[in-house]
Symmetry: C2
Subunit: 615 residues, 2 copies
C-alpha cells in the first residue's frame, strides 16, 4: 500500500513537515494549500526537496466551492482553478482535491454540477492534471460519497474522479459497503481518518478531533476491506485535523501516523484473509507474528538515591539480591516481583524509567516492534550477559522484551541470584504510568500495536489540580496490566508521580510489617473512613483495621480490593494491593483520595521531600 | 443577593478553596462531598474555618440515586442519608442536595417518589436538616424542574424542597418562565451555571464545559428575572464543572466567579427595572453608572532596550516627546497614537504591559471597576502629576483610565509636550494581546464587565505550533478595539508576541518611509502573493506594490484592508493598517501568514533577535 499524509496533520513549517514525513518513512504527502501559502519556499524548492527526500507529492488541496454555482461565478472559479493548475505544474502535482460546495451553492441539479466538473476536467487536462471530487459530510447539496460518485459518473471525464474520505462517510453513519461498486480507476485518492465516537456537530468533530487510524472508534479495517475488495490500488493518505497533533513534536507525530497505517494494513489483511472471494490488487504489508506478553518481568527505577528507595523496598519485605556485576544497578525481589534500581552516571532524581515484559519469543516481538517503527533502546551487554532488547515508548519510557521464565536468566548478572524468599508480595500487579496531556493517543496506539495490549474504556479522576484521565491497557488474560494517567495540562507531565503496584494475598500483614519497620505510608483522611462506612456494609471492626493501617477499600460486583500507598521518593512511590474474590478493577474511586493526599504532602513538604527517609 | 459557590468549581484543597472564596468576598459555599472526603480537615475544623472566614455553609452535595427504588434498596439509601445528616450536623450544614435518580431507578410512580422524599424529610427533620430535590437533565425518570416540583408538592413536607439549576433547565431548552409559579419558600437553593452553546451530549457538556454566568450563551439575566419576580430571596450559588477552572489558580478563579455574580445582578436589575409589575423581595446590587470608553489613550511597552524600540518608532514616523520628568519613561507620539516606553528598574525584556483608555468620567469607571472587584494597580504620582488610576486585567496586564482629551494632560509630565506633528499615522487602531489558554473566559468577562467592551464571535487561526483562538472585544462605536489571542497550550503563553496596530490613510507612504529609514519588516512569502492573485481581482501592478513592500491584503463586502508588520523586539512588534471603504475586520485570513513568518524568523534567529537592530 502506498502511504501518504496531508501536511495539515503536523506542526511546524512545510520544510519541517516534509523532513518529518520522509524520516518516518511515508511514500508521499498531500500539500495543504495553507502550508504552502505561508511558506518562504518556492513551489520549485518544495518539489526539489520532496524529490531529494524520496517523497511523492500526491495531492494539492483543498479547492473549495467550485460547483453548483451560476455561470458568472463559475467563470471566476475556473480562473481560480487555472491559477492552481499552473501552481501544481510548478510543484509537480497532478491531482487537485475539489470539495463539494459548502458556502456558495445556488444550483441543485446533478447535470449542472456534472457539466461544471467536466469543464474543470477539460481545463485540468490542458495542464496534465486531474481533479478528485469529494463529498464533505456538511456539503450544502452533495454530502454523501454515493452522490459525489453519481456526479463524477455523469461527468464521465478522464480527468474527473473521486476522493473518498473515511471521516466524511463514517461520521454520518453511512454504509461504506457501496465503495466496492465504484470503478477503482475513478478513485483518485483515499483519505483516512479515525475519530472518537462523540455526540457533537460534525464540522467541529472533523476540524478538531480526528485521530490516526486505530486511535478512535471507527471501523477502519472494515472500511479498508471494502476498498481492497473493490480493487483500489492507489495511495492511502492520512488527513487528520487534530488540535493536539498540530502542536506536538512533528517527528513523533509523523512516526505515530505511519505506525497507524502499518497497523491498519495488518488488521485489514487479517480481515481479507477471512474472505477468500476477495480479489485484491493492493499489497498489504503484514506484521511478523508474535505471541502476546506472558507477564511483567521487572520494573526499573532510575534513582540517584538508591538508599532511600532500597529502604522502602526493605520495609515492604523485598530482599536485596545484589549489585549488577558491571553496572551501578541493584536488584530487589520478592516472589515474582523484581525491582531494578539503576543509578547510572546520567541519572538524576528518582523516576520510573521502564519495565520488562516476558514473551514466549522475544525475537519475534522485536521483529514486530521494528516493523512498527518502534525505536530501539541502545543497550550494551557483554558476551556473557543477556541481550535484553528494548524499545522506547512515547515520551521516553523504555520497554524490554525478555524470555518467559520464572527465574529470568539476567538475574545471574547480580551477586546473589540463588536467594529464594517466601515473602508476602507475590508479583507486580500493575504499573501506573504518567503521560503528558498531548501523548494520550500516541501512547495507546503504541501499546495496542507494539505491545499488543487491549485498552479498557478510559475513566476520569478529580485531583486538586484538575481531572486526570486514566486508561487501563492489559493483555487479554490480565497477566500484564498498565494504567496510563494523562495528567492535567497545568502540570505538563513533569513532577507527576508514577508507581509500581505490588500484589499480595495478605495486605494487613504486609502493612503491619511495613509499619513495624518504620515505613512512611501515604496518610488517608479520617473523612474517607466515615464515608466508607456510609457507602459499604462493613463491620465497625473492619473499618477500624482499615483506618489503623491507612488502607483503602473498594468493591465491584464480585469482590473486594484493599490497597495502600507508600510515601513518594522523587517521582516514584509503591502501592500494595490485595484482590479478593475476583475483583478486577484498580480502586478508581480511591484515586482521588491518593491524589489529594499527595498534593497535601507536597504542599506541606516542598523541599524536605527528597531527603526525608534517607540514611 | 446572597452569593455562594460550590467547592467543586475550584482547584486546590478544601482549605485553599475556603480561603479563596472568603478572600474573593463570597457569602457562603456549598461543600462538595468529594472535597470533604479527600480532606485531612475534620468536619469540625471545616465548620470552624468557615465561621472564622465569615462563610456560611449553604449546602452539602450531592446525594445520588435516593428515589424511585424498591423498598429494600430505599432502606439502605435512608441509612446512607442518615450518615450524611449526622455529618451535616458536625459541619453545621442544614441542607442536602438530592439529585433525581440516574442509575438505580426501578419505580416510575410520582406517588412512590413523593412518599420516599417525605420519609427522607422526616429523617432529615430529626437532625434539624432538610433536602433540596433537583432534576438532573439526564435523570432516568425525573429530568425537568416541573416534574421535580410536582413530586416535591406531592411530598408536601416542610423539610422537602427543590433546588433549581440553570444548566439542567436551559441545556434542555426548557422554558424557565414556570419558575415564577413555584412557591419561593419551597426553593431551598438556586444553582447557576452558564455554558457555551454546543451541540454535544448533555452529560459531557455539563461535566466539562460549564462556565460562570456571562461567559457562555445562556440567558441568565432572564433566568434570574423569573426567580426574582417569583419572590425568591435565598442564596444563589455557582456550580461550575469546568476542566480549565479545576486546574487554574484558585484565587483568580474565585474572583472571576464572584465578578460573574455581581455582573449578573446588575443585568438582572436592569431587566427587572423595565417590568414595574414585578414585586421582588431580593435585593440586587447594581453597578455605578459609567459611560463607556471613548478611545485608546496610549499603549505602554515595558522594555529594557528602549533604544531598539525607539528606533522602530522613529522609522515608523513617530516623534520622541521626551523623558518623563521623574521616571525612566519615554513618550513617542504620532497623530493621536501615543506609545509609552517604560524602562523601570524591574523591567526585563520587551513586552506590552498595559494601555490607557479615555473615559468621559474616569472616576465613575474606577467606582464601577472597584464594585466588580477589579484589583487596583498601585501607582505613585506626585501632587503636580496626573493620578491616572488603573486596574489589573487577568494575568497581569495593566489598564489605566484617563479623561477623554485630544491632548491628555499627563503629556505635560514629559519634556516636550508642545510638539505637534503631521505624521502619516493617525491613531492606535487596535491592540493585539496574548493570553494563555486557560485565561480565555476570565478575560472576556473582565473586558465585558469592567471595561464595558462587546465581544464578537471568536475565530481560529492556524499557526505552525497549533490553532490560535482570536477574540475581538470592542466598544459599540469601535473607538476601542482589542484582539485577544489565546495561544496554543504548548506555548503556555510565554514568548508569544503581542502588538500595537497603528492606523494610517496612506500605508504605501508609511511603508516606503520606513523602508527608506532602514526598518526591518516581517517578510511575507512570495507564495502569498501568487495566492492573492488567484483569490482577488487585483491588477498585476497592485500586486507588485504589495509584494514590493511586504504588504498584506484582505477584502470584506464593502472595503479593503492593507497592512504590514514590523520585526519583533522581545515580545512586541507593530502593525500598520489602512482601512478602505469601511472595512471593519482585522485581516484574519492573513494572521496565519504572520504567525508562520514569525515562527520562521524565530527559528532562524533564536539568539540574535534581542540585540539585532540595537544601536
Amino acid at each position: 500500500m502506498r502511504t501518504s499524509i496531508a501536511t495539515v496533520c503536523l506542526s511546524g513549517t512545510l520544510e519541517e513537515k516534509l523532513h518529518a514525513c520522509a524520516d518516518a518513512g511515508f511514500d508521499g504527502v498531500e500539500i495543504f494549500e495553507q502550508d504552502l501559502v505561508v511558506s518562504p519556499m518556492s513551489p520549485e524548492e518544495v518539489r526539489a526537496l520532496a524529490e531529494r527526500r524520496g517523497l511523492t507529492l500526491d495531492l494539492y488541496q483543498p479547492f473549495r466551492d467550485l460547483d453548483g454555482v451560476a455561470d458568472d461565478r463559475f467563470a471566476h472559479n475556473l480562473a481560480r482553478a487555472e491559477a492552481k493548475f499552473r501552481l501544481m505544474n510548478r510543484l509537480g502535482i497532478d491531482t487537485m482535491l475539489v470539495c463539494s460546495n459548502v458556502a456558495t451553492l445556488t444550483v441543485r441539479d446533478d447535470e449542472v454540477l456534472a457539466a461544471q466538473l467536466r469543464r474543470t476536467g477539460d481545463l485540468a487536462q490542458r495542464y496534465g492534471a486531474r481533479i478528485a471530487y469529494e463529498a464533505l459530510a456538511w456539503g450544502a447539496y452533495v454530502n454523501t460519497y454515493r452522490h459525489a460518485q453519481r456526479i463524477v459518473d455523469l461527468a464521465d471525464h478522464p480527468a474527473v474522479g473521486t476522493c473518498l474520505d473515511s471521516f466524511h462517510i463514517l461520521s454520518r453513519g453511512d454504509d461504506p459497503a457501496g465503495i466496492t461498486q465504484i470503478d477503482p480507476e475513478k478513485i483518485f485518492l483515499v483519505q483516512l481518518a479515525d475519530a472518537p465516537v462523540l455526540a457533537m456537530d460534525v464540522l467541529s468533530w472533523s476540524r478538531h478531533h480526528r485521530l490516526f487510524p486505530g486511535q478512535g472508534g471507527f471501523d477502519l479495517p472494515g472500511f479498508m476491506g471494502h476498498l481492497v475488495r473493490g480493487g483500489y490500488d492507489g495511495a492511502v493518505s492520512l488527513e487528520i485535523f487534530n488540535d493536539t497533533f498540530r502542536q506536538s513534536d512533528v517527528d513523533a507525530t509523523a512516526r505515530d501516523a505511519l505506525r497507524s497505517l502499518i497497523w491498519l494494513q495488518d488488521r485489514t489483511a487479517a480481515l481479507i484473509a477471512r474472505d477468500p472471494s476477495a480479489s485484491a490488487r493492493m499489497t498489504l504489508s503484514t506484521l511478523p507474528e508474535a505471541a502476546p506478553a506472558r507477564g511483567l518481568d521487572f520494573a526499573e527505577v532510575h534513582t540517584d538515591d538508591p538508599d532511600t528507595v532500597g529502604q522502602l523496598l526493605d520495609q515492604l519485605g523485598f530482599a536485596f539480591r545484589g549489585q549488577h556485576r558491571r553496572k551501578p544497578v541493584q536488584l530487589w525481589t520478592q516472589g515474582a516481583a523484581r525491582i531494578v534500581l539503576n543509578s547510572g552516571p546520567r541519572v538524576s532524581g528518582t523516576s520510573l524509567s521502564g519495565f520488562g515484559l516476558q514473551f514466549p519469543d522475544p525475537a519475534a516481538t522485536v521483529r514486530r516492534a521494528t516493523a512498527l517503527k518502534a525505536v530501539a533502546v541502545p543497550r550494551h551487554h557483554t558476551a556473557d550477559e543477556q541481550p535484553l532488547p528494548g524499545v522506547r515508548a512515547p515520551r521516553g519510557l523504555e520497554v524490554f522484551f525478555s524470555p518467559a521464565a520464572a527465574e529470568p536468566a539476567w538475574q545471574a548478572e547480580f551477586a546473589d541470584p540463588a536467594t529464594t524468599d517466601a515473602g508476602l508480595i507475590r508479583s507486580i500487579d500493575h504499573l501506573n504510568l504518567a503521560q503528558p496531556w498531548d501523548a494520550f493517543d500516541e501512547s495507546v496506539l503504541f501499546a495496542e500495536s507494539v505491545l499488543q495490549l487491549v485498552s479498557r474504556p478510559a475513566t476520569e479522576v478529580p485531583s486538586p489540580v484538575g481531572l486526570v484521565r486514566s486508561q487501563v491497557l492489559e493483555t487479554a488474560d490480565r497477566a500484564v496490566r498498565l494504567a496510563v494517567n494523562i495528567v492535567p495540562q497545568t502540570l505538563g507531565g513533569s513532577g507527576y508521580p508514577e508507581h509500581v503496584a505490588l500484589r499480595t494475598d495478605d495486605i494487613v500483614a504486609v502493612a503491619r510489617r511495613a509499619r513495624a519497620a518504620g515505613m512512611r505510608f501515604l496518610p488517608v483522611p479520617q473523612n474517607y473512613y466515615d464515608d466508607l462506612a456510609a457507602r459499604f456494609p462493613l463491620a465497625d471492626t473492619d473499618i477500624e483495621v482499615l483506618r489503623d493501617l491507612d488502607l483503602l477499600y473498594d468493591r465491584d460486583d464480585g469482590g473486594a480490593f484493599l490497597h495502600f500507598y507508600t510515601a513518594t521518593v522523587g517521582r516514584v512511590f509503591f502501592e500494595v494491593v490485595e484482590r479478593r474474590d475476583g475483583y478486577e478493577g484498580f480502586g478508581a474511586p480511591n484515586a482521588a483520595v491518593r491524589l489529594a493526599a499527595q498534593y497535601e504532602t507536597a504542599r506541606r513538604r516542598p523541599s524536605r521531600e527528597r531527603t526525608e527517609g534517607g540514611v
